[in-house]
């Protein structure tokens, strides 16, 4: 098999940075494709294609108005990501506390060695 398809879920759809940019533009409100194109300065087909992906996973909504298509963010679909990340909230809160504690101990008892600080992702 290969990588999880972009339309598999919201996480995959949003992984593409360009798609997050599109969502940023739409954060200002409902907008026709043309406006997004001129705001971002990308070729129109690219914008349309990214919008299709966002639409397939439900992150945006479309509405026709004359020859335009007005896209709008579908907020609730973003919440799962928020909720998932929130699951790990204690990991950055706790870590902050731990770092603070270590900093205090160093300041009180030792002269810090000229090495890496604990918690670094080194170790290879």
């Amino acid at each position: 098999m290969a990588r999880t398809p972009t339309t598999f879920d919201v996480f995959n759809a949003v992984a593409e940075p360009r798609r997050r940019e599109v969502l940023s533009v739409l954060a200002s409100g409902e907008s026709p494709v043309g406006d997004i194109v001129s705001t971002l300065g990308w070729p129109q087909p690219q914008v349309s294609k990214h919008l299709q992906v966002l639409h397939q996973v439900g992150l945006v909504t479309v509405r026709r108005q004359g020859r335009q298509r007005l896209y709008r963010i579908n907020g609730p679909e973003i919440k799962p990501i928020y909720d998932w990340a929130a699951t790990f909230e204690r990991f950055w809160d706790h870590q902050l506390a731990a770092i603070k504690k270590r900093a205090e101990q160093k300041a009180n008892f030792t002269i810090p060695p000229a090495g890496r600080s604990p918690g670094d992702a080194v170790n290879n």
Copy 2:
């Protein structure tokens, strides 16, 4: 070009559902690879490979202990996702409020027409 590499950023690393499963396991605390393998029941190389991706983007930290490698979640790296999603918080809050408002108006003033409700992702 092709798709954004999985090691490009945290969003791409986490897009893979299996990788989120690995993080879930690590949420219970620091763990050697073998434990993750037996918990998830996947082939060991797969687990190692996913761990490498998570490590490259900084989502986990490694520490050697004898012949084992103990992996641990690196919380702060998850926060950017949380922060990004939080940017759109108003979109699901507002939408809730709007739905509520519409429901009240319908109940008070009209007999609802047998059509779609506004905001539907239909229109194709």
